[in-house]
Structure formats: C-alpha cells, structure tokens
C-alpha cells in the first residue's frame, strides 16, 4: 500500500486509471476469454476473505461482548465502548500516539524533501550510491534497531547523553521516564527508519518535474530558494498528502518500539501507544471484547483523519492556479 500515491497523480498513471479509460473502452483485452478471470482471482479472494475480511467483521461482533477466551462470553451491549471513552489510559494512548506521530512526521518531511532536492541534481556524483544507502535503515530488523537506540539513549552511559554532557550546564536526560524525552526517543527510531524511504518517494516525484521549469525560472533570475518554493514545492502537494496519510496509518501502528522500552508503556504510561494498549488489553488482560472495541476506535480515527486530509487536499487543489 505504501508505494502508491493518493489522489490525482501528476504523472502518467493516477491511482484510479480505470475510471478514465473506461469512458472510451473497456480496459483489458477483448479477445481474451474473460471467463478465465474467475479462476484467476478465486485463490486470492478465498484467502483474502477468510483471513483479511472475515476478522474485520468478526471483530465488530466481538466488540459487543464481554469476551473471555477461557470461560463463557456474554453480550455486553455498547458497554465496551462507553467504558473505553471513560478509560483514562485510552486518552493517554491517543495523546502519546499523536505526540510521537508529530515528532516523527514533521522532521521527516523537512529532511526528506531537502535530501530529495539535493539528490535531484543531475550533476550529483554517486547518485545511485546515495539512493541505495538511504534505504538501508528501512530494511533492518525492527527489534534490533530498538535495542541499539535504547542503548544509545541510555540515561547514564548512553552515547547521546555523553554528547549532550559536553554542553556545559546540561544534565543527563532520562529518555524513558520523561514524557516528551521518551516520545523523542521513539520518534527518532521511526524517523531513522523511514526518512530515507520517504526521500526516495519525494525524489521520484521531483524527477517528474520538467527541467524547463527550472531553466526558465533560472533565466528569470529566481534564486535557488525561490525555485524551490515556486517550482518544486507546489508539485509535491500530492506526494506530501500521500506521505502524511501513510505516516498516519503507520503512526497508529507503533508497537514494537514502546513495548521494548517497557511492556506497560512506561511507569506512568508515558509512552503507551494505541496499538500497545490494544495488545495489552487483549493478550495480557484477556479482554478480547474490549480490545476489539479499541481496534474499532483506531479504525474510526484513521477514517476521520483520511476524511480531513481529503477535504484539505481538495481545498488546496481547488485554489491551485489551473
């Protein structure tokens, strides 16, 4: 999912190309026997329905029960949901999730766009080397990386506090007990992992901007910064939206990093995230119904954010020059 650009693509093929083509002619090849389509999609659909769609529907059902995996389950009405809205852990988890999301997303956008602007230059040496290096963090084992960063961020002997202590007057920061410091630690892990990937996404859409635009801007006397502001940035609107939506969905799934720092999400739940909250309710407390309700709440949050994003993007493109 993460590879696709949302909405109207600037380049050849947008997300929903079939809609456009269909007005003229049916997509595909008419002389091929279409009945083969059913056996071709059947194995995929069978597995997809059983393991992809059925659990979603099943979870809506479970959310209305006091579901005990060992004993009897009883119908619980909307109690799971009303309890959830009164559960302070839920609101703490929302706060933490969004704080970590913001601390990782905005630095990432700035770094990734700047790096992509550098990499776009046709005269840059070692292009393919830089691009490849950027993807290295993205392929590494998530737990392994959590282990490394946890050590680097250690309160007493961590390298980061070691560097910070070189600044006079700065005390060692506890990157686990402090609310914001712990969020910074987790956000750093996420940024480290994804910034290179997002750079490549931005680079791909920057390479689609025609050279002539820069040439004429340069002839008109536009500075590098002005070129960036008036040529590059406006063409990245869709990509920025895409990265934000994917980042939000990813942000709501943050689990391994906080769980490795502390299984409970910290002594005062200072870095309990929504997914860790769901996991703990289901698999530590055996409250399946409650956990299912949390899953539904997360889905609602995704839908609301996507809707907001959609409205904003539409408004921006409505204001656009064309």
């Amino acid at each position: 999912m993460t590879l696709f650009k949302e909405g109207k693509g600037r380049t050849k093929a947008p997300l929903t190309p079939w809609k456009k083509k269909e007005k003229k002619q049916l997509p595909g090849v008419a002389s091929l026997d279409g009945r083969w389509g059913y056996p071709a999609i059947a194995p995929f659909f069978l597995i997809f329905i059983v393991f992809g769609v059925a659990p979603v529907i099943y979870s809506i059902y479970i959310a209305f029960f006091k579901w005990d995996p060992l004993g009897e389950s009883e119908f619980n009405g909307i109690n799971n949901f009303t309890f959830l809205l009164q559960d302070s852990d839920f609101w703490i988890a929302i706060r933490n999730t969004f704080s970590i999301w913001a601390l990782s997303t905005f630095p990432q956008l700035i770094i990734a766009i700047s790096l992509a602007a550098i990499l776009r230059n046709k005269r840059l040496k070692g292009k393919s080397f830089w691009r490849t290096i950027l993807l290295v963090p993205n392929i590494t084992s998530i737990i392994a990386i959590t282990i490394v960063f946890q050590q680097l961020f250690g309160r007493d002997y961590g390298l980061i506090n070691g560097i910070l202590s070189l600044i006079p007057g700065v005390d060692n920061i506890d990157f686990i007990e402090g609310v914001i410091p712990s969020h910074i630690q987790i956000a750093t892990m996420i940024t480290w992992r994804w910034v290179g990937y997002n750079t490549l996404i931005f680079l791909a859409s920057m390479l689609a901007i025609p050279d002539e635009l820069y040439e004429s801007a340069s002839v008109d006397g536009a500075s590098k910064w002005q070129q960036f502001k008036y040529v590059t940035l406006p063409s990245l609107k869709n990509t920025i939206t895409f990265v934000l939506i994917v980042g939000t969905i990813g942000g709501l799934q943050v689990f391994a990093e906080p769980q490795q720092l502390n299984a409970e999400g910290g002594s005062t739940k200072q870095f309990l995230t929504l997914t860790l909250f769901l996991y703990n309710q289901a698999f530590l407390n055996n409250k399946y119904g409650y956990a299912a309700a949390i899953g539904i709440a997360i889905t609602f949050i995704v839908l609301i954010i996507s809707a907001i994003n959609f409205v904003i993007t539409r408004r921006i493109s409505g204001e656009g020059s064309r």
Partner: protein, 281 residues
C-alpha cells in the same frame, strides 16, 4: 573542454557534506551494534566510550547461539522458511489475480478492485484479536503456518501487480497472441510472466523483508521458544542484570547481518521498486 553548467544545476560541497552526514547516521547504528558486542562493558560505559571494535565478538556471538532457552539458529531458519514461503506465495497469487484485473473482461471486476482498495484503508490491528481466535480454532497457534497462511495474499500485492501489468504489458501483444489461438493460461505463462520478472522479484523482496521484520503477530501467535522468529527471539536476550548490552547487541547484529548481505545484492532494485511505485502509482 569545460562545459557550461547551467546555474540551476550546480552542486556545492555542502550537498556532499549533508549526504555524507546522512550516510554516517544510516550506517552508525550497525557499527555501534558491533562495537558494543565486541567490547567489554567497561570499555562502553567509560567517557568517551570506545569507538573501535574490541576482541570479544566471537565470544559474545557464541553466547548468543548457546543462550539458555533461546534457539537462535532455529529462529534464523524459522524466519527464512516463513519469509520465503510468504514471498513466493504472494508473487504467484498476486501475479495471477493482478493479470486478471489488468487484462481480462469479466463481470464483477470493477467491484472487486474497488473492494480491495477500500480494505487497504483498514488498519491491520482491527483484525488481530479475531485472527488469534481463528488461529486457535484452526489449531494453528504456535505453528509457523499461523504466520504463513494469513500472509499468503495481500490486497497491496494484487493491486501493485495490477498496476505493473497494466503499465508493462501492451494490450496489442496479448491481442495478437490470442488471435493466433493462444489460450488465456498460455498467454499468461509465455507473455505476461516473462515481462514482469523484475517486478515480481521486487514484490517478493518486499514481502520477504516485511515477514522478516514482522513482530506484532509473531509475538502473539508463537509461544514456545523453538518456534520463535528472529524478532521474537531477540526480545529474549534482554540483560538480566546490570547494563550489559553485549548479548542483546550481538544478537541484534547477527539478526541484521543476513539482511545487510542481501541488501548489497538487491539494494539497487529495491530503490527502483520504491521509486517506480511512487511515480506510477
């Protein structure tokens, strides 16, 4: 001799400096894993800490492999088995279904595609509790099948393949072949498959990497240490006393090394996979 470089294309030393810094930051954590696992605790906790590899790595690696209750080599095999099974299955199912969605006319096609795209919006945590209940009923809990079976297909894979086949296989060639009397399976096998070999490889790689790094589902569904995948096994190496991270960091290094080696060979292809998807999508 000197070509006239347009002003807007000039590079500066600052650019290389920034790229150098990013390269350093991308590589450093791996180097640090090795530093910590090859030095003594004292060397790491002094200020400034040692930044050169020490002599202890083999000893630590040995400890990781023989740690009590941790089956590290077994976890490595488990991870490989699961990753390869998922990668192969996803490529096959996605290619066939993607071909049907890109090139065949059949009733319900449009609706199916919309349905798949819509489900891609749902967060994966939504189904995790019911999936566990289902795995329990199917007696899959604590088996590698529990990791493989739900991941045999993904909506993303099918959608991606549909885009690729749509863009890379011209309709005219398929038309010509079918008019010459080639059946649909024949067309798929001898025309479509050969032209999507590269993309299939990239999709398989992404599936393999995702399986390798998956943690949430394996930690839920696997229970006995000899069934663990690497990510779960790594969490067993927590320091029991003090701040001796060497065991954990050694394990982290051993668990990451295979991916880094793989990356040397396929890194460029992954880069073009990420960038192609971004542009064409």
């Amino acid at each position: 001799m000197k070509r006239n470089i347009p002003k807007w294309q000039k590079t500066s030393k600052l650019h290389y400096l920034m790229l150098g810094l990013i390269t350093f930051l991308s590589i450093f954590p791996f180097y640090w894993m090795f530093i910590v696992s090859s030095n003594t605790d004292a060397e790491i906790s002094k200020t400034p800490p040692s930044l050169v590899p020490g002599p202890r790595f083999l000893e630590v690696a040995n400890k990781v492999l023989s740690a009590e209750g941790v089956y590290f080599t077994k976890a490595l095999t488990n991870t490989f088995v699961v990753g390869i099974a998922i990668a192969v299955a996803q490529v096959i199912f996605s290619a066939i279904a993607g071909f049907a969605f890109a090139k065949l006319h059949f009733k319900g096609r449009q609706f199916s595609i919309l349905f798949i795209v819509a489900t891609m919006m749902l967060p994966s945590q939504l189904g995790i509790v019911p999936l566990f209940i289902m795995a329990n009923k199917l007696n899959l809990v604590n088996t590698l099948y529990a990791l493989i079976v739900p991941a045999l297909v993904t909506a993303f894979g099918v959608f991606w393949m549909r885009q690729i086949i749509d863009a890379q296989v011209p309709n005219e060639i398929l038309e010509a072949a079918s008019i010459d009397g080639a059946s649909v399976p024949r067309v798929f096998w001898s025309i479509v498959l050969p032209s999507i070999r590269q993309s299939s490889f990239v999709l398989g790689l992404f599936a393999f990497l995702a399986a390798w790094n998956d943690y949430l589902w394996p930690t839920i569904v696997l229970q006995s240490p000899e069934r663990f995948t690497l990510q779960v096994a790594l969490t067993q190496l927590k320091p029991l006393y003090g701040l001796d991270y060497s065991l954990q960091m050694g394990g982290a290094f051993l668990a990451t090394a295979p991916l880094l080696i793989l990356f040397i060979f396929v890194g460029r292809r992954l880069v073009s996979g990420v960038m192609d998807g971004a542009v064409k999508g």
